[in-house]
């Protein structure tokens, strides 16, 4: 038993690792039973036997994971556990060495139609330092084919409290503000599935509280969320399930989070 498993076992959190539990036909039933009939139990994304090998070193090993529409899943694990690679595999940025990933029951996450439904904040923020906040967001909106991109960007900036920074080059902003802009960039096309790699790093207390509010609104609107984090409290507060990774394997899946009805009331 690994160290993570030992810790989780002491809290009765280690779950049997069967493919049926995570990605098999039982998953929609499990979710519906736990979260109520209002949650659409279609799979948003499904990784089946995903192994990723970089320069002969296996980074992910035989990962089976299905995330249902409307579900929030957090990935936790030590550095090098494979969280970022798993997120990249889920969004189609890394092609699995073996296994496959299906999005919205499509065979490939690389399809343009599928990509329009996904918002991603990676390890790196993906912002152009020479462009202003507005220009970065408008560029992303135009790439996603958002028709009223100026209005959309203006409303996002107001909502996030970044209107005063709108015309400043991103390179002049603090890391926390850049992180917020990166998250807004992922939201500009109103995706159905949001994937974030350590979204709260660099954020101050106010930023974390903004992010928490965003996650809660996101969940209550029935959209899907998957994020990686080192913050156990954040994961347990915001996620339906925590997937614990270690050395490229899923070592445990921890059910947690508050019911969606409660979140709807608080949002």
């Amino acid at each position: 038993m690994t160290s993570s498993q030992s810790v989780l076992a002491s809290r009765n959190l280690v779950l049997p690792m069967s493919r049926d539990l995570m990605s098999g036909p039982d998953l929609p039933g499990i979710l519906t039973a736990r979260r109520g009939p209002h949650v659409e139990a279609r799979r948003a994304v499904e990784a089946v036997g995903v192994t990723v090998v970089y320069e002969r070193v296996p980074v992910l090993r035989d990962i089976d994971l299905a995330i249902a529409t409307g579900e929030t899943v957090a990935l936790m694990g030590p550095n090098g556990a494979g969280k970022s690679t798993l997120l990249k595999s889920l969004v189609g940025a890394v092609r699995p060495t073996t296994g496959c990933v299906r999005w919205f029951e499509n065979p490939s996450p690389r399809r343009i139609r599928t990509r329009r439904r996904i918002g991603v904040v990676g390890e790196e923020m993906g912002l152009y330092a020479e462009l202003t906040v507005t220009e970065n967001l408008r560029f992303a909106g135009r790439m996603f084919g958002v028709s009223t991109v100026s209005d959309r960007v203006a409303s996002l900036l107001v909502e996030c409290g970044l209107k005063a920074q709108a015309d400043r080059p991103v390179g002049q902003l603090s890391l926390g503000t850049r992180q917020r802009v990166a998250i807004l960039r992922a939201l500009v096309h109103e995706p159905q599935f949001l994937v974030l790699d350590e979204p709260s790093c660099n954020l101050d207390e106010e930023g974390r509280s903004w992010l928490e509010g965003l996650f809660r609104r996101w969940r209550s609107s029935g959209r899907t969320l998957c994020f990686a984090s080192h913050d156990a409290t954040e994961c347990r507060t915001l996620a339906d399930r925590i997937v614990h990774l270690e050395a490229g394997r899923i070592v445990a899946i921890e059910p947690c989070g508050c019911p969606v009805d409660e979140l709807r009331r608080s949002a």
Partner: protein, 228 residues
Amino acid sequence: MQARETANSLWWLIHKDLIREVRTPQVWPGMMLLGLVLVFLLATQLDLPLEQKGRVAGGLLWLAIFFAGTIACDRSFSSERDAGCWLTLSLYPIPPSVLFLAKLIVNFIALVALEIVLIPLFVALSDVSLASRPGPLILIAALGNVGFAAVGTVVSGLTCGLRHRGGLLALILLPLVIPVIFGTAEATRLLVMGQTDLQWGRWIQLLAVFAFVFTVIGALVFEFVVED
């Protein structure tokens, strides 16, 4: 509708790269400086009678332009990676061929800017009458630029993900574009000698075919070229 969206994406990708370069020049100053040094050395050290000078001038000029142009191609994708924008860019819902074309066009524009500076300087320093017939010279430059930029963009995509890629692009790119350098040099030599006949037309055809083939191949294979 889809064609319009694709054209919009193409335009905004080019616009973004040009705005970034204008606000924080990273590529063009180095490229210009290398081009200027090469042209100055080659033009001033060419101690030959004017007729013989005209025979070799085209080759030297294009060699200088394309050698300096490797800097522009080298930064096509590495600038995205260095800025931490590659993942985001690769996940936008745009066909990889559009990304390839946008980078190709930005490289083409960089080469045009380089030529606008270097060709008049070369003519002034060497006394070779390159600019007496601007139309055919522009045709040679345009076809040469497309061919060079197409291969350069593909090679840049291939090498940008490598950890130790210093100088690798030039090592791969320059042998691949020998037909372009040879074609532009020969077409320019014939132009200087006033022989824009059938033989000149064949060199132009070679440049056109090279540019077309590598643009099409680049657009088709680009998805696999830039994969992690």
